[in-house]
């Protein structure tokens, strides 16, 4: 088996430079690569182009990179929970490319699968379609969207093994599997790193071929954005 493990988050991020395009798994704060984000903050790389469904909150997730003004361009579908984001967007410091959620997912999947572009109905007739090729299929209009081109993908899984096989948990799966193999280098951090053979092949969500580096994460906060309970 090919061993993909690296001993530390620092080794996992070897080769990161300012100005790169980075993908981050997660939906809100659910399933985000916490360790990799903290390491990016420590490294202080800047002018990053970030692809992530959301942009974190003020003091957690990608919000930490925003605080340090490390992000130049943010590609997301929804950015509502972050005051610093709002300030930087309104002042023009931060370029924001709002993209329909399903389109982000498919642009990742296309990159993973070697498909350069695809057609989607999402956003036809809206400003999302401006400047993009439109094609008519079976009487309906579709927009051409291109696969992302990224340098690093940072994903977080529940369990992984030394050869990079991954298993996700609950709705922390979201964009994580789609970003594996969608960038030049995929870095997976896991809550539990297991020896080869410990995972049932029937249960593997992402095969290790799509992962370049895997490491045991630590100190997961797994913050909840909207703690909501039932009244009984």
């Amino acid at each position: 088996m090919v061993n993909k493990t690296v001993k530390s988050v620092t080794k996992a991020l070897d080769g990161i430079n300012s100005g790169m395009t980075l993908m981050f798994g997660g939906f809100g704060l659910c399933g985000i690569p916490e360790n990799s984000i903290l390491e990016l903050v420590r490294l202080g790389v800047s002018d990053l182009r970030c692809i992530s469904n959301n942009a974190g909150v003020d003091n957690f997730g990608l919000g930490l990179l925003l605080q340090q003004k490390q992000i130049k361009t943010m590609i997301a579908s929804y950015v509502g929970e972050n005051a610093e984001f709002e300030r930087q967007m309104l002042s023009g410091e931060l370029e924001v490319i709002l993209t329909p959620q399903g389109t982000i997912a498919e642009k990742c999947r296309a990159a993973q699968a070697g498909i350069p572009a695809f057609f989607t109905p999402a956003g036809f007739g809206t400003e999302v379609a401006e400047g993009k090729e439109i094609r008519l299929f079976h009487g309906k209009n579709y927009i051409m969207e291109e696969a992302y081109q990224a340098d690093f993908a940072f994903v977080k899984a529940w369990k992984g093994d030394e050869t990079g096989n991954l298993i996700f948990r609950g709705t922390a799966r979201n964009f994580n599997p789609l970003m594996c193999g969608a960038a030049k280098i995929t870095v997976a951090e896991v809550e539990e790193l297991l020896p080869v053979g410990a995972l049932d092949p029937n249960q593997v969500h992402i095969p290790g071929i799509l992962v370049n580096r895997i490491f045991q994460g630590s100190g997961y906060e797994k913050r909840i954005e909207q703690r909501t309970i039932r009244n009984i």
Partner: protein
């Protein structure tokens, strides 16, 4: 006298049919899950990757890995499944989800919808709304009939940036149930205690009023 938001949700719940897979937006649509008729089975999809979404957890059982698209903690029901975001939107774009219920800032008389951006103000983003409205065949909008400034949200044409074209089938507000037809808005039901004239005054787009308009039941 108009009805309350929870009554809008109760009325929309009557649109649910046995065997439906349903996607609920944030706000009033979320409340619809509380009023599913007992005699039918439906499954709720949340676009962040769950089918078979259950109610909020009891205190102490919150799980950071289990949320809905509004980032609220939820539970999963027996028979539920989790999946990635591409699969989730395959369900949506592929028309496997039977009914989409979402909020809106404006709806036009030909069924266009605006619900993601107010120019000059903070733009939060469209999330999954554009994917949902571009493909769903059965879209019900739950919203208030007029905005906070008192202007009608049912217009000849949307003023705000569009989310999708010619997609809304039905609108349920605190005043009325209104369908989108090739001829314009069609008044289906009036809310209890609301006169036809009140609805007419609150609707800027062309409103077709049949001779007999039944009262909304919920």
């Amino acid at each position: 006298m108009a009805i309350e938001k929870k009554d809008i949700a109760k009325r929309i719940a009557k649109e649910l049919k046995n065997g439906f897979y349903v996607n609920l937006g944030i706000g009033i649509p979320t409340l619809v899950a509380n009023y599913v008729p007992k005699e039918i089975e439906v499954e709720f999809q949340s676009e962040n990757g769950i089918l078979g979404m259950g109610p909020f957890p009891i205190e102490g059982k919150e799980d950071a890995d289990l949320i809905n698209a509004g980032k609220q903690t939820i539970t999963s029901l027996a028979g539920a499944s989790f999946f990635d975001s591409a699969m989730s939107f395959a369900m949506i774009r592929g028309k496997h989800v039977n009914l989409t219920i979402l909020g809106a800032m404006e709806v036009s008389e030909n069924g266009d919808i605006s619900n993601w951006k107010i120019p000059g103000k903070l733009v939060k983003g469209m999330g999954g709304a554009m994917d949902l409205v571009a493909s769903a065949e059965n879209i019900i909008v739950a919203m208030m009939h007029v905005n906070k400034k008192g202007y009608s949200k049912l217009l000849p044409k949307c003023n705000l940036p569009l989310t999708g074209l010619k997609c809304v089938k039905r609108i349920v507000t605190e005043l009325a149930v209104i369908d989108i037809t090739p001829q314009g808005f069609f008044l289906v039901e009036h809310a209890p205690g609301v006169s036809i004239n009140e609805i007419k005054d609150a609707t800027a787009g062309k409103l077709i009023i049949p001779n007999n308009v039944p009262e909304m039941q919920f």
